[in-house]
């Protein structure tokens, strides 16, 4: 029983386990998308179906809806592993915990974030957003949703041990989401004025890289605190 270390084997093991679990319980994939669609449908019912007004507000509506549905999927991220003891095995395994966490957050993004990005052009029709702002919205979401998953995972790691962790987590995580939201919506505004918005995208990209490198360390120390 010799132990050989291949980080890729660990990453793919954790990643494929989460995906397999998600596909076994279809709800984990369908619920965030459904929630995203319903939040988008509420706005026209609330502020009236006038196409011009809706088109102007559409990017903001889509971003807030995406932010909330990512939040929805976050508390499930570590909850099952915490309650059935897999988290302890992951900590006591011979691999570094940040790598495991990286795989889990990546799987979480593929399950909740990616479908949102893919469905945005379809749901944007509800808000008849068809101009160049749609492309900017999709691009900012493509960069933004993984960022939301990484930042949110820190909140999830901190509150996984608590009973009523859900609300508390959103209180912790929402302030951290504000810079992402600001840069994303400013990118969309400049795009709707047909100007170049690559600056904002670059900032979002930089944030994402920092999150990929720094967040797993923060998340694993948060998990170690929650487990103790």
């Amino acid at each position: 029983m010799v132990k050989q270390h291949s980080y890729w084997q660990l990453f793919s093991a954790v990643f494929s386990k989460d995906l397999k679990l998600a596909f076994r319980q279809r709800a984990e994939i369908v619920n965030p998308i459904l929630f995203f669609l319903i939040v988008i449908t509420l706005f026209p019912l609330a502020i009236g179906p006038e196409p011009g007004l809706l088109a102007r507000m559409a990017p903001g509506i889509i971003w807030v809806a995406a932010l909330l549905s990512t939040m929805l999927g976050l508390d499930k991220l570590f909850r099952d592993d915490y309650h059935d003891g897999t988290l302890e095995q992951l900590i006591a395994s011979s691999y570094p915990l940040p790598l495991t966490v990286l795989a889990k957050v990546a799987a979480h993004w593929v399950i909740t974030g990616l479908p949102l990005v893919l469905m945005t052009p379809v749901f944007a029709l509800l808000l008849n957003l068809e101009s160049s702002a749609l492309l900017a919205t999709v691009l900012t979401l493509l960069l933004g949703t993984p960022l939301l998953s990484f930042i949110g995972a820190i909140g999830a790691g901190l509150t996984v041990g608590l009973q009523k962790g859900g609300i508390l987590m959103s209180l912790l995580v929402l302030p951290l989401y504000i810079p992402v939201l600001i840069f994303a919506t400013s990118a969309i505004d400049t795009s709707s004025m047909e100007l170049a918005y690559s600056g904002q995208l670059a900032i979002l990209g930089a944030m994402l890289i920092v999150a990929i490198l720094a967040a797993p360390i923060a998340i694993s120390s948060a998990l170690k605190v929650s487990v103790s």
Binding site: R26, V30, T41, P49, L125, N128
Partner: protein, 245 residues
């Protein structure tokens, strides 16, 4: 009072019933679907105003009607399941829900595709389209509630309750959306009214409606058989049937 209904409370009798009905439904579906589509697409006269884009009516109207029909029959099955504790009715609710959701999705897609040439926008917050969208949410709500439960008996009962709550809300949703729509009448353009149809268009539409209804019946029967088998998996009659089949 419902004496003839009681034998079908037993699972295998209900399974046999589905099996005997299935071929008839399937034949009617195939025949009507082919006749309806060919007649509607190729032989029915073009509309003088909308020319050929109106042909989408031959699947939009039937699917819209069926989406309401499937939901109400689901709700009726739910009432039977809860009031008379008929477990097979509970299975029927679970069998109809996905088919109803698909038919509602078709109604939405065809409505949007028909709206684009007529009003220049894929989606118009027209009263009927909006209620259709909310109906889709009701279907998906029943489905995700059913799949959220581990123990399938509790899941069935919960889904029935939600289906009944949904059907009570349907008229309320419809009238509030209607009122909301007239409130913003200025915003949306003409409503989705189908004028009096002359016979040459009426008959292909009828055939399509029958075709869609038969299709929903067929798939519901297949899914009902699945649900019965799923619940009775460890019973001997399932295994014997398998060896024979």
């Amino acid at each position: 009072m419902w004496k003839w209904l009681h034998p079908y409370a037993k699972a295998d009798r209900a399974y046999q019933l589905c099996n005997t009905l299935l071929p008839y439904f399937a034949v009617v579906t195939v025949v009507c679907m082919i006749v309806g589509w060919v007649w509607g697409l190729a032989y029915a006269p073009a509309d003088y105003q909308q020319k050929d884009s109106y042909r989408i009516i031959f699947i939009h109207v039937p699917s819209a009607i069926l989406s309401m029909g499937a939901y109400s029959s689901m709700a009726i099955a739910a009432v039977i399941a809860l009031v008379w504790q008929l477990r097979n009715a509970e299975l029927a609710v679970i069998a109809i829900a996905p088919v109803g959701a698909c038919v509602t999705a078709i109604a939405l897609i065809t409505g949007a595709a028909w709206g684009k040439p007529m009003w220049g926008a894929w989606w118009v917050w027209d009263a009927r389209l909006t209620s259709e969208l909310i109906l889709l949410f009701l279907y998906l709500g029943v489905l995700s509630l059913y799949h959220a439960f581990e123990d399938k008996k509790a899941a069935g009962r919960a889904a029935c309750i939600l289906a009944i709550v949904g059907v009570i809300n349907l008229p309320i949703i419809h009238f509030s959306v209607e009122w909301w729509n007239t409130l913003h009448q200025g915003a949306t353009i003409t409503k989705f009214d189908t004028k009096a149809i002359d016979p040459s268009m009426f008959w292909p539409l009828m055939v399509n409606i029958v075709a869609f209804a038969a299709f929903v019946g067929t798939v519901t029967l297949i899914r009902l058989k699945n649900e019965i088998l799923q619940r009775e998996k460890h019973r001997p009659w399932v295994r014997q049937m398998l060896e024979r089949g």
